[in-house]
Symmetry: C2
């Protein structure tokens, strides 16, 4: 079992990573006696892992939510509030988020806003949630007009990653999670990128050691960035590589048709291509990035029904827009990237057109 820490003063917390982590979760939950947590999960994950977490936490207080990005709404979070109030849960209750990024984001937001804030623990069961969304305290839900538009920063008390959960994960979900791992390699961790080139097949083959290494290195990158810039005033925005384009794609196709990681994977390709067009990324690096994304099975083209001008409009509405200017994260090498709002619109549109077949 590996243990990392996110150091944020009074909001610091551990990340436990390894096979069988859920079996040992009890010792990390630290529930005060007589105050069992409420477990929130979804219809897909509950049949697989709920029993383990009930045993580890000693709790039989369970809420099962509907599944999928299209359910990540204020209305679904309302079901958590209802459950807590119907069960007379006070400010001393903690929540356990058992599931993928959608469950983690919603439970985190409910924890941020129930009685002005209660503790919660992340028990992520998808690769994407394990390497990215469960760490760092971003919580929230979607609005019909934009992804993650309603939310709060609220750090978990702990993150417990059981790599065994990836054995039951849909292959498409595993591939989607790899997009966020590849992202860390591109924006700040050249060694991780090289390591991925060497170990991608082991990861897709669910090798225990490779998975633990991959998740630990990703969480370490995430932790370092969050420690330096918890509320995204500066460099945390580098984590948005591929997300400006990706969110717009997700919104354009409707939440749920594409997985978040798939959209991010395509977004990374577009960002690399745009950086190449602007002369800030060499052709060889673009090739290596695309090859790794290809090997991870991530999409390489925009859905044919999408209009680049519509995508631009959606990007203007994105949170990452500042004073009406779209902010792009552009790779400048394998292992570094910059944040810029000066990419000329014609270049962006021309780049988007390259991704329509």
């Amino acid at each position: 079992m590996r243990e990392l820490r996110v150091e944020l003063g009074p909001r610091s917390y551990p990340i436990h990573i390894g096979p069988g982590a859920f079996d040992e979760a009890g010792e990390h939950l630290g529930n005060p006696p007589g105050n069992t947590p409420v477990i929130v999960s979804d219809e897909i994950v509950a049949p697989l892992y709920l029993e383990k977490i009930q045993w580890a936490s000693g709790s039989d207080s369970v809420l099962i939510l509907p599944t999928g990005e299209s359910e990540k709404t204020l209305a679904t979070v309302g079901k958590i509030y209802d459950f807590l109030l119907q069960n007379r849960r006070g400010r001393d209750t903690s929540l356990l988020a058992l599931g993928g990024g959608v469950v983690g984001d919603m439970v985190g937001f409910a924890a941020a806003t129930y009685q002005r804030g209660i503790p919660f623990v992340q028990l992520p069961t998808t690769l994407l949630a394990q390497v990215d969304s469960s760490v760092g305290g971003k919580t929230g839900v979607n609005h019909p007009l934009g992804k993650n538009m309603i939310g709060a920063f609220h750090q978990p008390k702990a993150v417990i990653v059981d790599t065994d959960t990836l054995r039951t994960l849909d292959k498409r979900q595993l591939q989607a999670g790899l997009a966020e791992v590849i992202k860390y390699g591109i924006i700040r961790d050249t060694d991780l990128f090289f390591w991925l080139e060497a170990h991608l097949d082991a990861l897709l083959g669910l090798d225990d050691q490779a998975l633990t290494e991959c998740i630990s290195r990703s969480c370490q990158n995430k932790a370092e960035i969050v420690q330096a810039d918890e509320k995204e005033a500066g460099q945390r925005a580098l984590l948005n590589l591929g997300h400006t384009f990706g969110h717009a794609v997700e919104t354009a196709v409707g939440y749920g048709d594409w997985l978040h990681g798939e959209a991010v994977g395509l977004g990374i390709r577009i960002a690399a291509q745009l950086s190449g067009r602007l002369g800030t990324l060499d052709h060889g690096s673009i090739e290596r990035i695309n090859r790794l994304l290809d090997r991870a099975g991530l999409p390489a083209t925009l859905p044919p029904e999408i209009d680049p001008v519509q995508l631009l409009e959606l990007m203007e509405l994105d949170k990452k827009t500042l004073k009406g200017r779209i902010r792009y994260v552009l790779p400048t090498a394998i292992g570094s990237a910059v944040i810029t709002d000066s990419a000329p619109q014609p270049d962006v549109l021309a780049t988007l057109h390259e991704f329509i077949l």
Copy 2:
């Protein structure tokens, strides 16, 4: 014009208090050029003061919400999200909350949760909001099962109190606000209590100097408590004097029938009476507290349809309940109070029965 400060490190902010403060609000809003704030108000306040605030802020971006405690819901906050997204407002937008406590609480919560947090300024127009709810960062909405059950701590960037707004305030609202002022006197400020005994008629007569003094002293008390305990881990709970009983009354009669301050006023009487019954407050002090509340025109009896047992159940659900035990704030003298969870239930019930005529 008086200026106080709430000192909370990077979240510190000024409170400007005095007649005509809205006319000078422009200099305190500090909007970056080209980025005018969004003004949120309600149907009652907008016709009176919107024009002043539009002039001061240079903004014509306005959202008018329905009025009243019964509208303080997640659905109404949803209208703020919709407006911001439809107007393509980014993370750099600030909100101005122009109105009473309901508008302030909802706009504060929208600011806490729109794009994971944007700045906002409080422009409170009721005495209650001016002396209490606009200061200290408590934001939120009601749930059918309990008051303020959904919310967040989110400090404003500034609070601007124009005492002239009290000239258009309904007398019942003014009286309700006095309940929170009297509360500061009882829990920690003997001098303020004496001052109120001497100046209550001047306050009810809307004397400018008395109003400015009353609001400044109240905000000073609030600021000191919030500075010592921003997230209510300890002594901030003293501010809940009268609120455990008061919230239960509000919930029992349905939001909107009683004003919050009226319910708090009655709650203070019940708390004082209970403290007397338990031998921790002398009869003379109870008399003085009741006399001051009488002079402020605040209610002295429970609505006849209310059952004390039902009130107890509602109190158990209140946020201030910890591990299932109801926490009471009980005055021990004029100028001091304690937080206790050991008031015997039969004494509480007997005390409640005394308030049914």
